[in-house]
């Protein structure tokens, strides 16, 4: 297999793996965060403003790891620098 084929194959496989592994972790983490927030909301409904705001900020922080993985797989598929180097675009 020549270089072009190897680069294309590795890019596609790694792009899939990146999104897969990168969404499993944040999904578990977000689930745990929401469970805890719901439990706190049930215990202290008065603090719903603070809990909701902190939950949103925390979810954004957790979710950004998934977003990084997504951006990397998008780069691997649509804007791969190695592929562009080989094909001379």
């Amino acid at each position: 297999m020549d270089n072009t084929g190897i680069i294309a194959m590795v890019s596609i496989i790694v792009a899939g793996l990146t999104t897969t592994l990168g969404s499993i972790g944040p999904a578990i983490a977000e689930g745990r965060a929401v469970v805890q927030a719901l439990a706190s909301l049930a215990q202290q409904p008065d603090e719903s403003n603070t809990i909701t705001r902190t939950l949103f900020v925390g979810l954004a922080m957790i979710e950004s790891t998934a977003i990084y993985c997504f951006v990397i797989s998008m780069i691997l598929i649509f804007g791969n620098p190695f592929w562009q180097h080989i094909t001379g675009q």
Binding site: P45, D46, S48, N49, T50, R53, F56, V57, A60, E63, S64, I67, Y68, F70, V71, M74, F78, G79, N80, W83, T87, Q89
Partner: protein
């Protein structure tokens, strides 16, 4: 391989020498025009009487909740931060809401826009910090807890700015890309559902971007939260919620 344009930066509409007008700038101008025209139209019917117009009521609700949120996060008088934070919130929210218009791609789906917005936050943090506690104390907080942490603090400052930009960009871009991919597989109905989901995502991202910007700014301020501004405006809402919940629980007990 590059048949799907990954960013609106590459669509150049008009070029004069080094001056380029790409689709991102044009779409930003559209969002700005919507905001400006709405404000001018709104200003004509402002009144301080008891009966106010619907538009003024909506605008007051939006501004009041932004002020409440900023007051809650910073624990200080929110009026200093409202112009900066609310501008970014309104721009991002308008841009993502305009995404339902066919042909309009939110400018926040381009990395240059989000990086520029995050750079504004990056500049605003030291400005507000120095304004609040002076040059010396502001710079001294980079040496806390020990001077060994100085490089980590500096890297943290840069990386959180970058994370702010990538978060907004990734969320908005993923909506556009998923819509395009689903159009190829299942046309007509499913992309509409994803558009609706994209509306929610856009609003949440606008909220998160401005809240995080406020959290970053608040971390540079002095640690003397004024308790009168934290939860100050929420009291009436909380009391109402309390009344409702107590009446509900009383009803539940009665049953």
């Amino acid at each position: 391989m590059n048949d799907m344009p990954i960013s609106t930066d590459e669509i150049v509409l008009w070029q004069f020498g080094w001056l380029k007008l790409n689709a991102t700038i044009l779409y930003t101008w559209v969002a700005m025009a919507v905001l400006i025209v709405t404000s001018i139209w709104l200003r004509r019917e402002l009144s301080s009487k008891t009966r106010i117009s619907k538009m003024q009521c909506i605008a007051e609700i939006i501004m009041d909740s932004i002020r409440q949120q900023i007051g809650n996060v910073s624990g200080k008088d929110p009026i200093r931060f409202v112009p900066f934070i609310a501008t970014m919130f309104l721009l991002i929210a308008t841009a993502s809401l305009l995404g339902v218009v066919p042909g309009y791609i939110p400018p926040t789906a381009s990395f240059s826009t989000t990086l520029a917005l995050a750079f504004c936050v990056f500049i605003a943090v030291p400005i507000f910090g120095i304004q609040d506690r002076g040059v010396g104390p502001y710079l001294a907080q980079y040496l806390k807890p020990t001077w060994l942490m100085l490089p980590f603090n500096l890297v943290a400052e840069l990386s959180r700015t970058f994370a702010l930009a990538v978060r907004l960009y990734g969320n908005m871009m993923s909506g556009a890309v998923i819509g395009a991919v689903l159009l190829l597989i299942t046309p007509l109905f499913i992309p509409v559902l994803m558009q609706i989901l994209g509306l929610i995502t856009g609003m949440i991202q606008a909220y998160i971007f401005s809240i995080l910007a406020m959290v970053y700014i608040a971390s540079a301020l002095s640690e003397r939260p004024n308790p009168s501004f934290a939860n100050q405006t929420d009291v009436s809402v909380n009391e109402r919620v309390d009344k409702v919940s107590t009446s509900e629980s009383a009803a539940a007990k009665g049953n």
